[in-house]
């Protein structure tokens, strides 16, 4: 009905125009772009999924280049200044593995070992799996000399997502401070703890899922 469409003199080369006019060419072009589009998005999706699970799963092949020297925290050595766990609400753990109340902390950062409340290598509240309900006890327990093997084994198998953290750790004390903190291993559904009662773990496995 309408006016016939005026035929424009083509400025596109004839061959190209002919080619583009062909239905199968268009179909091929479209098909290729669709395939490219789908594969790239699917690949990305897949990668996302894989990366998410990587945070949980451990890659047996990968070893993080840790450089922890365990002998530094040796309790036989005399030290005048102590590092400690800083953050505690009432308790604090020094680098010799003593747990004391904050009020019994000496000016050099060490626990006053002469007060009865100070104890070394305390595993109170810690479960068999290596998870504790009190951070300070977790650190203290982790500083036990016999935990060295366990920690080395963990470091050799640690997930890639912890690479940043555990390659920066330098000695047994720093390792225990870092290892006992809650991390991506401690949560399920992102916003809830796997086990709110025992969430600080020096051991290899994440906290056991607490029943809802």
């Amino acid at each position: 009905m309408g006016l016939p469409t005026p035929i424009l003199e083509p400025d596109v080369p004839m061959v190209l125009r002919r080619l583009l006019r062909k239905r199968w060419v268009l179909a091929v072009v479209f098909g290729l772009s669709l395939i490219y589009f789908l594969t790239s998005t699917l690949k990305q999706e897949e990668r996302t999924v894989r990366d998410r699970t990587l945070l949980q799963a451990r890659d047996p092949e990968h070893r993080i280049p840790w450089k922890v020297r365990f002998d530094l925290g040796n309790s036989s050595r005399q030290i005048t200044q102590c590092r400690n766990s800083i953050q505690g609400k009432t308790l604090i753990t020094d680098e010799l593995g003593y747990v004391c109340e904050r009020i019994n902390l000496l000016v050099n950062g060490c626990c006053d070992i002469n007060t009865p409340s100070s104890r070394q290598f305390v595993c109170d509240t810690c479960l068999l799996g290596g998870c504790c309900s009190v951070y300070e006890y977790c650190v203290s327990c982790c500083l036990q000399p016999d935990k060295k093997l366990l920690l080395e084994r963990f470091l050799n198998r640690a997930a890639e997502s912890f690479q940043n953290l555990f390659t920066a750790v330098e000695d047994h004390f720093e390792l225990c401070l870092a290892k006992c903190r809650t991390s991506s291993q401690s949560v399920q559904h992102e916003n809830t703890y796997r086990n709110p009662q025992a969430k600080f773990c020096y051991g290899e496995s994440p906290p056991e899922l607490a029943p809802i």
Partner: protein, 1064 residues
């Protein structure tokens, strides 16, 4: 031949569609894409195209069966009209480029239009039809749509579309579209002159500190954001970049992280505060703005290990119940990391504070513009952690420039952005610079820095503390205070003056009186002496006898341990019985002593102590009459977090969660102000209904309640109403099918989220009101209507299913939204009963008013308010005055009988309300009510009267002890004079980009979006040309077989709607 076009269009739509849903993701509250993305056409002007047509006399269009040359056409017409000699006709000349080509029609002028002339024309074999010529008039109109309603058309009304994921969901609707512009004075102003925002560091006079040689050196700053590219020219001291996301890159693909880092530490062009500070870049957001709590946990651990001093978090979300995250933030500050975080971009609505900025140990930063107005987007209102029993804390802590601030561009150069996540790095940069000025770094900790910032902040006039906190950042005063700082405790707010308006809103908006619910002020104790501390003995209440301090009773509750660096001190104030009919002002103070283990003394067991006074000033009035007193039930209002409580207005799909607290001082603030201005006294009940003396109150207000009721509450309320208490209920929707429909998959928790109630818990309400023969239905209605000369909008509400026969019921015509949600069908229902008024029959019994929708008194997403209706209902309940406009309304219908066709809603099977409920507890099959808890009991502090008077001006009293402002001398402090020049039109866009910045809300880099759009545009153009080409080439081809052609056209014409040629 149409298939290529359709396919191309499909692929483009697919491309677009694929990108969009990915935007709104993750970490609690990382917000969604900007509003503009969701409703690109959502301007306040609507273009309306109207057209009218008119028949042109004596002219006819003759349509042929095919394309013929002009000569052929003329021949056909003359032959057709050959028999009618008398006819005067001529062919109207058409002078256009197409006239050289064959055409299929002709315009003919026939003077004496005879029916048979037209008929003979139509008889000609080559002529298809003859129609009168019409002239078409088209007109364009710009229609001003009413502003409050503008949100409605913006939201997608197709229900098939999946709701977007959970936590990130925050308000994006009303606040940004119009608000941003207002905040920057762009639309509001007649101002032609405006201060050109030079570099924000200079406006805050950082150059004074730079000249003194302080540039942030030696301070480790962590930027938790979208990363930073390696060789950005603005940064000289990037110590480390780490990636905590699942994308294998360290670079910033969005520009947000670069901007934030630039505000803190850029050294050239748009200069940051602390160019020599040590930057640690933590990439915790993907380019799709995805982030997970677990990424943050690991990254935070690394920040602790690296002994970061200052950490900027320009992120936030509503989920303060994310315990792993909240605990981790506490752990960070406990390790002396000074956390600075953005308060959120969800203003101007109250109750919109974001976590972690709402934590006591974090410096929460709000935004202002360069004219010292609170930026409209800045989140505000009290914290909602403490509801329903307590009262929220004051947040943000301070405000600073967050609108049109210049910072580093993604690759190079500078750009401007707005949002509280711009304001946050301004403070983080200032804190970094300040920390580097202190010789004894031991003194700098999260508490002392916060104390210095809030003690030095400049209060903005006319703004309340729940919007501005302690005021605007003043870098130089903070420098002075910090450099004469002695470890001590301080309070935020530092005094309680319930008479001071507007700063102490809402306290100042309602005087206290005997018998009222105690007024609670939730004060934060900041303890600069150590990460942990305690309150020694008990806080002491010392009334000033000369100033009637004995007329008030004070009860104090407080954190058993102040950790980390902070704790609360909740002061409940009540009027003593002897002042029941007294009017006046009473003064006193609360004295608190805080002790912390001393870490620097040689003997173990030493403690540092600090004593602070909290002045209290209140206005007392005689107890108002019962009819004036309204009680707001807070106890039965539940909200997100922790559960999924859906929004009351189902159209607001971008914000499906009800998370603003549902308190009269958060999202029911306007309603509260309205009631106050009408002389009502509104009190809040944060305990079960069994815990109030009903003889004191005229009306109990139950609005949008999600909680269940204890059986004891139901019984008590019945007795109360028999004894003269009145009840007003604003209900909301509850339909189990719709609830199942609005479930969504939350990517953060990787779970399906099913709502635990509807907009309100209608089954529970029905249990409460069934004794009076009343019930709400499970219907879901929506629509505009007029009631008593007021425009009303019913936004997803229910109807009244049962009502006593002697009650007054008003019905309206509404749309059945349930049907729309479930089946995408539109149905209009007449006579939906939505309002009911009832006088209970017992002697002196109270009255009951029911309304099916709460959205019109709620500030969030409200389109048309109905405060007039609340007034009318209160007139009815308080004074038994039935509004004539309602009783004599034509909409009045007979009350729905108890045998209604609408079934009453049943509780959604398998709902998890018991997990969040204070009333229910899990039971084998059905959750059962818990035993009724004891009513809260305040133990009033034993007063220790003082025979002295209060200082005259409370807020100017010393906020920090032993700080001598004169001791620290600043070299050559020049007052900064903003450079003012006329704003040229082209310039504004350069730095006035709207769009918040909390990730997800901010502008995408222009440089990044342009290629995307250019690419898409090119695709469209390409597709168009391809279609044109194929079309053009096929035309002559088809024209060749002339014989077939008319046939084809004819067939096509006969089937105009199917669009396909019949195959037979």
């Amino acid at each position: 031949m149409t298939s290529p076009r359709a396919l191309w269009l499909f692929s483009i739509v697919a491309l677009l569609g694929w990108r969009l849903p990915q935007v709104g993701s993750k970490r609690e509250g990382v917000s969604m894409s900007p509003e503009v993305l969701h409703c690109p056409n959502c301007s306040q002007l609507t273009l309306k195209v109207e057209f009218s047509t008119k028949v042109v006399e004596h002219e006819y269009i003759v349509v042929f069966n095919g394309y013929f040359t002009a000569r052929a056409r003329s021949r056909f017409i003359s032959r057709a009209l050959h028999d009618l000699d008398a006819l005067v006709w001529r062919i109207m000349p058409r002078d256009n480029p197409a006239s050289d080509f064959p055409s299929d029609f002709e315009v003919v002028q026939i003077r004496q239009a005879l029916p048979q002339g037209l008929l003979t024309l139509q008889d000609h074999p080559y002529i298809k039809r003859v129609t009168p010529q019409r002239m078409v008039f088209r007109s364009l109109k710009f229609v001003q749509t009413p502003e409050p309603g503008s949100a409605a058309p913006c939201n997608d009304t197709r229900w098939t579309q999946k709701w977007q994921s959970s936590r990130p969901l925050r308000r994006t609707s009303l606040s940004l579209g119009s608000g941003f512009w207002h905040a920057t004075g762009r639309h509001s102003s007649r101002r032609l002159l405006r201060a050109i925002p030079r570099h924000v560091a200079q406006i805050l006079q950082a150059d004074v500190l730079w000249q003194m040689g302080h540039t942030g050196s030696g301070v480790k700053v962590a930027v938790f954001d979208t990363g930073l590219s390696e060789k950005h020219p603005h940064f000289k001291n990037v110590k480390e970049r780490t990636n905590w996301t699942n994308e294998k890159t360290l670079d910033d693909g969005l520009g947000h992280g670069t901007f934030v880092a630039g505000v803190i530490a850029s050294m050239r062009e748009c200069q940051g505060f602390a160019p020599d500070s040590e930057l640690h870049i933590f990439r915790v957001f993907t380019n799709n703005q995805v982030s997970y709590t677990s990424w943050f946990l690991d990254a935070f651990n690394y920040a602790i290990l690296k002994k970061i001093d200052v950490l900027n978090l320009s992120i936030g979300g509503p989920d303060f119940m994310d315990h792993p995250f909240v605990d981790k933030v506490w752990e960070l500050t406990a390790n002396r990391v000074i956390m600075v975080s953005a308060i959120g971009n969800d203003g101007p609505l109250y109750g919109t504070l974001n976590n972690p900025a709402d934590q006591m140990d974090v410096i929460g930063v709000g935004g202002i513009d360069f004219e010292d107005n609170i930026a409209r987007f800045s989140s505000r209102g009290m914290t909602t952690w403490e509801l329903p029993g307590g009262y929220g804390r004051v947040k943000p802590d301070i405000v600073t420039y967050g609108s049109g601030v210049r910072g580093s561009g993604m690759k190079e150069g500078c750009r401007s952005l707005s949002g509280t996540s711009v304001a946050s790095p301004v403070v983080a940069g200032a804190v970094t610079l300040l920390a580097s000025t202190v010789p004894n770094r031991e003194l700098v900790n999260p508490a002392s820095m916060k104390q210095a910032l809030i003690a030095s902040a400049r209060r903005l006039p006319g703004v309340n503390m729940f919007e501005q906190g302690h005021g605007k950042l003043d870098l130089l005063r903070a420098y002075q205070i910090l450099n004469s700082y002695q470890p001590q405790a301080s309070l935020s707010p530092s005094y309680i003056d319930l008479t001071e308006c507007p700063y102490m809103w809402p306290y100042c908006s309602q005087p206290i009186y005997y018998g009222g619910m105690p007024t609670i002020v939730n004060v934060t104790i900041l303890n600069g002496m150590g990460v942990t501390g305690r309150i020694v003995d008990k806080p002491v209440w010392q009334p000033y006898l000369p100033q009637n301090g004995d007329h008030i009773d004070v009860a104090v509750s407080y954190s058993p341990v102040l950790w980390p660096w902070a704790g609360y001190l909740a002061v409940s104030i009540s009027v003593a019985k002897k002042a029941a009919s007294w009017e006046g002002i009473a003064h006193g103070h609360v004295m608190v002593t805080v002790a912390s283990p001393a870490e620097n003394t040689s003997n173990a067991g030493g403690e540092l102590t600090s004593t602070v006074k909290l002045p209290v000033k209140v206005k007392i009035i005689p107890t108002p009459p019962r009819s004036k007193r309204v009680l707001w039930d807070q106890y039965h209002n539940l909200r997100y977090p922790p559960g999924y409580f859906p929004r009351d207005n189902l159209r607001m799909k971008n914000d499906p969660l009800d998370w603003n607290g549902d308190h009269i001082h958060t999202n029911f603030r306007d309603m509260y102000q309205h009631l106050r201005s009408n002389g009502y006294f509104v009190e809040v009940l944060g305990a079960p209904l069994t815990c109030f003396d009903a003889s004191q109150y005229g009306t109990l207000l139950l609005v949008d309640s999600e909680e269940e009721y204890f059986p004891e509450e139901v019984n008590k309320l019945r007795r109360d109403i028999d004894n003269g208490l009145s009840l007003i209920i604003f209900s909301d929707w509850y339909n189990t099918s719709v609830m199942r429909k609005v479930k969504f998959y939350d990517e953060n928790t990787r779970q399906w989220w099913m709502p635990d109630t509807g907009g309100a818990n209608v089954p529970a309400l029905n249990d409460l009101i069934s004794i009076w023969g009343m019930a709400f239905s499970d219907g879901l209605y929506e629509g505009d209507f007029a009631m008593a000369d007021h425009e009303m909008y019913y936004a997803s509400g229910c109807s009244i299913a049962r009502f006593p026969e002697d009650g007054i019921v008003i019905a309206k015509t509404l749309k059945d939204q349930g049907l729309e949600v479930l089946k995408q069908e539109t149905a209009v229902v007449d006579n939906v009963p939505i309002l009911g008024l009832y006088q209970t029959p017992s002697e002196g019994g109270g009255r009951i008013g029911l309304y099916g929708d709460s959205n019109c008194i709620d500030d969030s997403h409200r389109q048309k308010d109905c405060f007039w209706l609340l007034d009318a209902l209160l007139q009815f309940t308080s004074y038994s005055m039935t509004p004539a406009s309602l009783t004599h309304s034509k909409s009045r219908v007979a009350p729905p009988s108890s045998v209604s066709e609408h079934p009453l809603p049943e509780r959604l099977e398998g709902n998890h309300l018991y997990r969040y409920s204070k009333v229910l507890e899990a039971h084998l099959r059905d959750p059962k009510p818990r035993p009724l808890p004891a009513c809260p009991h305040l133990s009033w502090a034993k007063p220790q009267p003082l025979n002295e008077s209060a200082p005259s001006n409370l807020w100017k009293h010393q906020k920090l002890l032993s700080v001598d402002m004169d001791k620290v001398v600043l070299p050559n402090i020049r007052p900064y004079r903003p450079q003012v020049r006329p704003l040229s039109p082209g310039e504004s866009g350069a730095w006035d980009i709207p769009g918040g910045i909390m990730p997800g809300r901010y502008n995408q880099d222009v440089g990044q979006t342009i290629p995307v759009f250019a690419f898409l545009g090119a695709m469209v153009v390409l597709a168009f040309f391809v279609v044109q080409l194929t079309k053009a080439k096929s035309k002559p081809k088809r024209r060749k077989p002339r014989v077939k052609r008319p046939l084809f056209l004819q067939q096509l014409q006969q089937q105009p709607h199917t669009g396909r040629t019949p195959s037979v």
